[in-house]
Amino acid sequence: MTTWAIEVEALSKSFGNNRALSDIDLKVGRGEHVTVFGPNGAGKTTLVRILSTLSKPSTGMVRMDGEDIRSDPAKIRRRIGMVSHETFLYDDLTVYENLKFYGKMYGIPSLEEHIHEVVSQVKLESRLYDRVGILSHGMQQRVSIARAMIHSPSVMFLDEPEVGLDPRAVIMLRDVLESINTPERTVVMTTHNLKQGLEMGDRVVILNRGKIVYQASKGDIDMANFPEVYEHYTGTAE
């Protein structure tokens, strides 16, 4: 068994002749929390989609726990949780029905207990039987986190989860995200938000135009200077 949760080797992705990612090499250790920064169009979402088996790489290799993710994608998907700015939820079903649907799709035993557990984690017990559509966007995002947690994934992808939320909801979301940000869970997060990204990551990667242009461990980063570093590598301020 390797110690790496995720290994990305020489990964490239082209859409037609348009290169979204070129020659990405990245290793994420078990339990490590990596934050991927980058401006719009840098390839962050494409990277997360490939890592989560939603999209196929054009060339290169992705391994999760030492296994090629393309050999048995269904098996790999069981270990993956995903929160994006889209919630994946059905507005016309209740919180409970949404979680039950996804729980069944993941084949979770003793699902009832699990649903109550994840709902209390995101502090939405009182809204369990409300339709998702009537909840505020911030609450929906918390339900989405509960959805992603339902099968206790060992790897969590957070793809710009804070996009479109108001500042109060972002603070609440951060608390919830931090509560799931446990040491044994591998987390890969993409974000624009430098402050939050730095807080949550052990390691920081900057992606620009489909290439990794900067990598550093949190300890090596001068926090105060980081916005300038970011601007230097991407040509854009936050």
């Binding site: 999209s55 269904a74 098996k75 994006s84 994946f88 939820l89 059905y90 079903l93 084949g107």
Partner: protein, 224 residues
Amino acid sequence: MKGSVGKIFTIFWKDILLEIRTKEIITSVLVFALLVLVIFNFAFEPETATMGLVAPGILWVAFTFAGVLGLNRVFAIERGNSRLAGLLLCPVDHMVIYWGKLLGSFTFMLAIEIVVTPIFLALLNLPLLLPRLILIIVLATLGFTSVGTLFSALAINIRARDIMLPILFLPIVVPVVIAAVEATVVVLQGDPWGDMLTWLQIMIAFDIIYLVVSTLVFQYVVEA
């Protein structure tokens, strides 16, 4: 394998639940199908002699157009909030998603036909329950939805999807429409089983071929 069947039904049940909540597909499509029946009765002189020949055509035009309308919704349900991504992230083979959605669209279409057919037969003063007609409807609906579910998934990726689904769907289902109409003629005229056998065979062949092919190619429609 056993788990897969369970998950097919999980997807199916989720669609049923959504339909019970929103009543989006069945009510609107049902009204539409009934309207087609009525409009066609204005278009043709309701003389019994000609009606017997035209009626099967009217029924299947109603079902075909109603089918397109319903199929448009099948994957549209998954479009908002990137729900399709959520489905594709589930630890199941993509075939399971195809079959789950297929089961839903098949059931919805059948539900509409169960209501429309007796009304249609009543308008023609025929017995309201014709077992052979039920067989034809089941076979044709399976054919429609096997291709239609695939195209519905395909159409959500393209611009002008509302109009593209019928343009894609209608030429492909021509054999089913022909076979269903001809077989219905046999039933309505009370001709023997043997006369409709060929048509049943064509529909069965179509169903099997498209269920297999759609199951195989569905993954290419939803991957990115």
